[in-house]
């Protein structure tokens, strides 16, 4: 810092300038007034001098005593203030001493007769030494000015000293201490030293700064602790999120994935690729249209908070079953931002294995282990459903009771294994003719089968035709082992519900009876139920 910028120097300079100006003005004034005053004083002194000598001078003038007159004149002239003296009396009496020329002013006093009152006998005139008087006045004034200057300088010095001691130094120290503080490094925020009993402005300022810093330090410390905690927490959450075996993602209102974890990505990345095929969530899975509407439902319905679903998806050539848990995310903080999107959190597990096992179990429960057709229990359930469906839709349900002819001899002659093979082959041939989604093929028991097909009224003929074609299929030879084949045939009891029975039981009884009629007519026959 330049010295001219220091506070106490500036204060001192200001004081110095003012003091000098005041001193000069005062000096000038005192010089002028002092000159006048001194002149007046000196004139008074001269007059008094003259008065002192008045009586003696009067006597000398009375006696025309030149010696005495000269004595008086010399005495007066020896005074510095007097430049010239003139003593006049009678014609013979005139004493002039010193320089009486070029003197503007003079002090004259009348000399009175010593013995006769009111009688003038002469005049004593003194000529003051103006130059001397002026010099005297000047000297006095100069001395005064000098004293004033010295006075000013001393005051300036002590004021500077005091300002430096009381103000500049504490301020400088404060500034230096303050400069050491780096707000980004709280450890530098040391308390500033302060005089214990200081009550001046600087001390109060320092105390204020200290309390501010204390508060700041506290705040920073709290912030740090909080941040550390938050970071720890965040790290833990991140760990949970990233290390979770379940795939987790967030889906926005446009069904786009905004966030996902590595496990999620792993589910949807094809072998040999590094990125997911799309970030649009529904398109990643099969049945995307249905999924979209499901997501919409979750978003719109207030009471639906979460929903779980097994969804199939095809990644490359692989088909997976994913158990998905959908949850609507709601803002838990008090301040809800406007126009906030409703995000849906999706947590999914690969449940392919379990799904397949379940599928297998259900299949085994519902199907005949030999022919893989529905077993009787599952079949009956399916038939009931189909019948009520047809009634509600004003459709018809064709129901055929099939019984194999000449199956017992196959079993007896060729063995059970051959019998089983025949049953499997027949089942396949039935299935190949009745392969619609809604067709129901059941192994009713032993060598009995039941087929049901939902039809419209006009389709009865084609169904019948299909049944006859099926009978022909069944009659084709069946290879039971490498060198043996056998032939079987079947009879069909053909009924149409609900015309031939509104209840399944009734329908089944009728179909059974009709089938036996067909048997009576010979092998490989189709008998149609005929209401009596």
């Amino acid at each position: 810092m330049k010295i001219s910028q220091k506070l106490y120097v500036r204060v001192a300079l200001s004081i110095a300038i003012v003091a000098l100006l005041v001193s000069l003005a005062t000096s000038l004034f005192s010089y002028i007034s002092g000159l006048e005053e001194r002149k007046t004083t000196n004139y008074t002194l001269v007059k008094q001098l003259a008065q002192t000598m008045q009586k003696t001078a009067a006597i000398s003038a009375y006696l025309v005593d030149l010696e005495l007159g000269e004595e008086i004149s010399n005495g007066l002239l020896s005074n510095d203030l007097v430049k010239g003296v003139s003593l006049s009396g009678d014609a013979q009496m005139l004493i002039t001493q010193g320089d009486i020329n070029n003197v503007s002013e003079q002090v004259s006093i009348q000399l009175m007769h010593p013995f006769i009152p009111d009688t003038k006998i002469g005049m004593l005139t003194l000529y003051p030494d103006d130059i001397y008087i002026q010099q005297q006045a000047q000297k006095a004034s100069e001395k005064e000015v000098l004293l004033m200057m010295v006075h000013s300088i001393i005051i300036i010095f002590f004021v500077s000293l005091a300002v430096n001691q009381q103000l500049s130094r504490p301020l400088q120290k404060l500034t230096d201490d303050f400069a050491k503080i780096d707000p980004s490094m709280p450890q530098t925020m040391q308390m500033l030293s302060v005089k214990k009993r200081g009550k001046d402005e600087v001390s109060r300022l320092i105390k204020g700064i200290n309390s501010l810093m204390r508060a700041l330090q506290q705040t920073i410390r709290n912030e740090r602790e909080l941040r550390t905690k938050t970071q720890e927490l965040e790290a833990r959450f991140r760990l949970i999120f990233e290390q979770a075996s379940a795939g987790i993602c967030l889906v926005d209102e446009q069904n786009m994935i905004t966030t996902y974890n590595p496990a999620f990505k792993e589910h949807f990345v094809e072998n040999g690729k590094t990125e997911m095929s799309s970030l649009n969530f529904p398109t990643l899975l099969n049945n995307s249209d249905k999924l979209q509407s499901l997501l919409q439902v979750i978003r719109e319905k207030d009471n639906v908070e979460q929903l779980s679903l097994d969804i199939e998806c095809t990644i490359g050539t692989q088909t997976k079953w994913l158990h998905c848990l959908f949850a609507k995310l709601t803002e838990q903080r008090d301040t809800v931002r406007e126009n906030q999107e409703t995000l849906i959190e999706v947590i999914l597990h690969d449940v392919t294995e379990r799904a397949e096992k379940e599928f297998q179990t259900r299949f085994e429960a519902d199907h005949d282990a030999l022919t893989y057709l529905l077993n009787r229990r599952a079949g009956e359930r399916a038939l009931n459903n189909a019948l009520s469906e047809c009634i509600s839709k004003d459709h018809q349900l064709v129901l055929m009771m099939i019984d194999l002819d000449k199956f017992k001899p196959v079993n007896d002659n060729l063995g059970h294994e051959a019998g089983d093979k025949v049953l499997i082959e027949v089942a396949q041939r039935i299935k190949s003719r009745f392969n619609l989604d809604t067709d129901i093929c059941i192994r009713w028991g032993g060598d009995e089968f039941v087929i049901a097909r939902e039809i419209k009224l006009s389709e009865q003929e084609s169904a019948l035709k299909q049944a006859q074609l099926m009978l022909q299929d069944i009659e084709l030879p069946i290879q039971v082992n490498d060198d043996t084949s056998c032939n079987v045939s079947a009879c069909i009891g053909f009924v149409v519900g609900p015309n031939d029975g509104e209840a399944l039981h009734e329908l089944m009884v009728n179909a059974d009876n009709t089938m036996y009629q067909a048997k009576e007519n010979g092998r490989g026959q189709v008998a149609i139920f005929n209401k009596v």
């Binding site: 006597i59 009375y62 006696l63 005593d65 005495l68 013995f115 006769i116």
Partner: protein
Amino acid sequence: MKLIRFIIPVLLLFSLYTNAQDLVVVVNKSNTVNDLSKREVIDIYMGRYVTFPDGESAKPFDLPAKSELKNDFYLKLVNQNERKINAYWARVLFSGRAKPPESVQSINEVLSHLQNSESAIAYIPESEVTDVVKVVYRLNEN
């Protein structure tokens, strides 16, 4: 000293006697001066001039110091007492130009001086005026 012892009671008597008397300034009968003004008397007695106005030398005489007559004379002449007159002479003697009047012991002595010298001048009570002197100034005159 015997003389002083003798004189003092005489002077005391004298003064008692002369107190009511007017003082007059006198000169030798043969002096040409017949009349003097107050200023002229002052000038002679205070040492300004040592001559009469006509140029003849004048020699003034004083009565004894501290006498009633002397004091009275100066009071009447210049309105100053003897002490002030002494102070005046002390100042004037410094330069030596003028001398105070010669002092005599008695009026008789004054009279003898007046008789013997034409230039003598003195003041006496009017009652003491003799034939040998003539009055030139009366002090009650103003």
